[in-house]
């Protein structure tokens, strides 16, 4: 409800487009970096130089070098791939999982609903990141494990949202008509309900993508991320922590990268929401 209150203020049309375009542009830029990676990086991200360790920013190394002499800028560029793909993959799978669970619970109601909602509510009592940590610890340190962990922590809130929307739609006349006509449940779900829920789902996913990046990089920071020497931003921040007092420059670049990507997703999601669904937010 409060979100709806905040959103009801009218924005001049120019503002909406600003967020959407800003977000979209930034995301596109990151996507390009993710794809091109090594080709635009000035150095090989794994090339070490033990005689140039922990150097601050210079003309040769715009963001300096890390604790084994690798160029930080190159690592940031190549690292885009990890963060972006993990975030997108998590959102994709969380979307599928959330839609499946939410529609089943919302559409069929009754016992099914209670059981599924019960499990979802249970999982919602565990803080996002704690659930992700527990699963990452069990699934192991890898991009796959990370994706599983983040996906799992986003399915419950998504399922809840989908369930709510499906329940709303279920009451609509055209659904009653479809049932009378004898249309199968699966068809009703797929052809009538889900397309109408799509907007809400896509907006929610975009808004959550930023959160996924934050949680993913937090896990990397804690050492639960991908294997070395992969240049994942969160892991780079984690590794820089013990050098905080002697080489603080290590901290700057990965943090800026993460913040910009989250900003991009947030702006994009906000913009989408303003365009499609300004008044409602569960």
């Amino acid at each position: 409800m409060p979100e709806a209150v905040a959103r009801r203020r009218r924005r001049p049309a120019g503002r909406i487009n600003l967020f959407l375009w800003l977000g979209a542009t930034l995301l596109a830029a990151f996507a390009v970096l993710a794809v091109l990676g090594e080709r635009v990086a000035p150095y090989d991200p794994t090339a070490q130089d033990l005689f140039a360790m922990l150097e601050g920013p210079t003309a040769a190394h715009l963001f300096g070098t890390d604790n084994v002499g690798r160029d930080i800028l190159s690592r940031i560029i190549v690292g885009t791939r990890f963060t972006l793909s993990i975030a997108l993959a998590s959102m994709f799978f969380a979307g599928i999982g959330g839609i499946a669970l939410g529609s089943i619970a919302g559409y069929f109601g009754g016992v099914t609903d209670r059981v599924v909602t019960g499990i979802i509510d249970l999982l919602l009592t565990v803080p996002n990141i704690v659930l992700a940590i527990a699963i990452a610890a069990a699934a192991g340190s890898s991009a796959t494990g990370l994706t599983i962990a983040i996906t799992a922590s986003f399915i419950p809130p998504l399922a809840r949202l989908v369930r709510g929307r499906v329940i709303e739609l279920r009451e609509e006349d055209f659904i009653a008509a479809a049932i009378t006509v004898g249309m199968g449940h699966t068809r009703i779900l797929l052809r009538h309900i889900l397309p109408n829920a799509a907007t809400v789902i896509i907006i929610e996913l975009s808004l959550n993508a930023g959160q996924a990046v934050l949680i993913g990089s937090a896990l990397g920071f804690l050492g639960l991320g991908v294997q070395p020497p992969a240049p994942e931003w969160g892991t780079m921040l984690g590794a820089s922590r013990e050098y905080l007092t002697v080489a603080p420059h290590l901290v700057i670049a990965p943090g800026i990268a993460i913040s910009l990507l989250v900003l991009a997703f947030n702006a994009f999601g906000d913009g989408l929401r303003d365009v499609f669904d300004p008044a409602s937010r569960n």
Binding site: A6, V126, I129, V130, F221, V251, S259, N266
Partner: protein, 306 residues
């Protein structure tokens, strides 16, 4: 009220049981010999088998589950390899540190977030509003562990004003609280701004202003009362973030709470300890939610007799 509270508190054990069950399933499906972990690296096969019997790991899963749950009810959380015994007393002894951090974060959020939101609304579409809204956007994008590191690098290493790590007196609380509260402050500020703008538009306020009431007084007398509702809601919604965020912030700042302990437990595969801490998190989450609902009823008179 008593009935309401009783009902809500009664659901806690059920929820905890559910979470325990899920965790049990997750941890039992992890590959690896649990007895070998506990016995240690240099244990011989016979020593590992001894441990297996001692911990009851050779019994069927259902029996293990039953023993586990019945132990939990009396406060026996199992055998933690870190503490060589029941971890519950150790978890409880570290809990106040985490609660202190969370409380400080909530306090700071109310102290900074609400005034910021009010300011932004009062000077809507002018410079203060732009600055505050920009800060909100920024704070929502910045990872809290990065913010913490920057604060440490600047306030502690560069300026020497605050201690970098650990818990030693009120000064050491500053950086972790700032890092944790940043996101909350942004959300509350944004929320408050919206609510205040909305209220200022309402008829009763316009009437009062038409009659000559100054904006400031209008704000104070009418609007602020309604601000508490959404603020409390936001904090309630973000309880999960508060508890979860403490894990990362505690590790970063070496703050000796249960979040930091959770990470230690994970790194040494002490599943008993992990589970114990997750349970405490769940209970805390539920208690915060109940507290939020209670506050809600106080703040929103319309609900009081619901």
């Amino acid at each position: 009220m008593i009935g309401f509270l009783a009902r809500r508190f009664a659901t806690i054990p059920l929820v905890v049981l559910g979470v325990v069950t899920i965790l049990f399933i997750i941890f039992k499906s992890v590959p690896g010999d649990e007895a070998a972990f506990v016995a240690g690296a240099t244990a011989t096969q016979s020593e590992i088998e001894a441990v297996r019997v001692q911990l009851g790991l050779d019994r069927p899963l259902v029996e293990q589950y039953a023993r586990h749950v019945s132990g939990l009810v009396v406060g026996d959380f199992g055998y933690s390899t870190t503490f060589r015994g029941n971890p519950l007393p150790h978890i409880i002894s570290r809990l106040p540190a985490t609660l202190a951090l969370a409380a400080a974060a909530i306090g700071l959020t109310i102290l900074i977030g609400i005034p910021a939101g009010v300011l932004a609304a009062a000077y809507r579409n002018r410079l203060p509003d732009y600055l505050i809204s920009l800060s909100v956007v920024g704070l929502l994008a910045i990872p809290n562990f990065w913010l913490g590191m920057l604060l440490i690098a600047w306030l502690s290493v560069d300026l020497g004003l605050l201690p970098s790590f650990g818990a030693g007196g009120p000064a050491s609380l500053v950086i972790p609280t700032l890092a944790l509260a940043a996101r909350l402050i942004a959300l509350v500020a944004r929320m408050t701004r919206g609510v205040v703008i909305e209220e200022l538009r309402k008829d009763y306020v316009r009437t009062a202003r038409a009659k000559g009431l100054s904006k400031g007084l209008a704000l104070r007398r009418h609007v602020l009362r309604n601000v508490m509702i959404p603020t409390v809601t936001v904090i309630g919604l973000q309880a999960g973030y508060l508890l979860g965020g403490s894990v990362v912030v505690e590790r970063l700042c070496a703050w000796p709470g249960i979040g930091d302990l959770l990470l230690t437990a994970v790194s040494v595969r002490d599943y008993t300890l992990v589970q114990g801490i997750v349970m405490i998190f769940v209970v805390s989450f539920l208690v915060i939610n109940i507290a939020v609902e209670v506050l809600y009823r106080f703040v929103n008179p319309r609900l009081r007799y619901a």
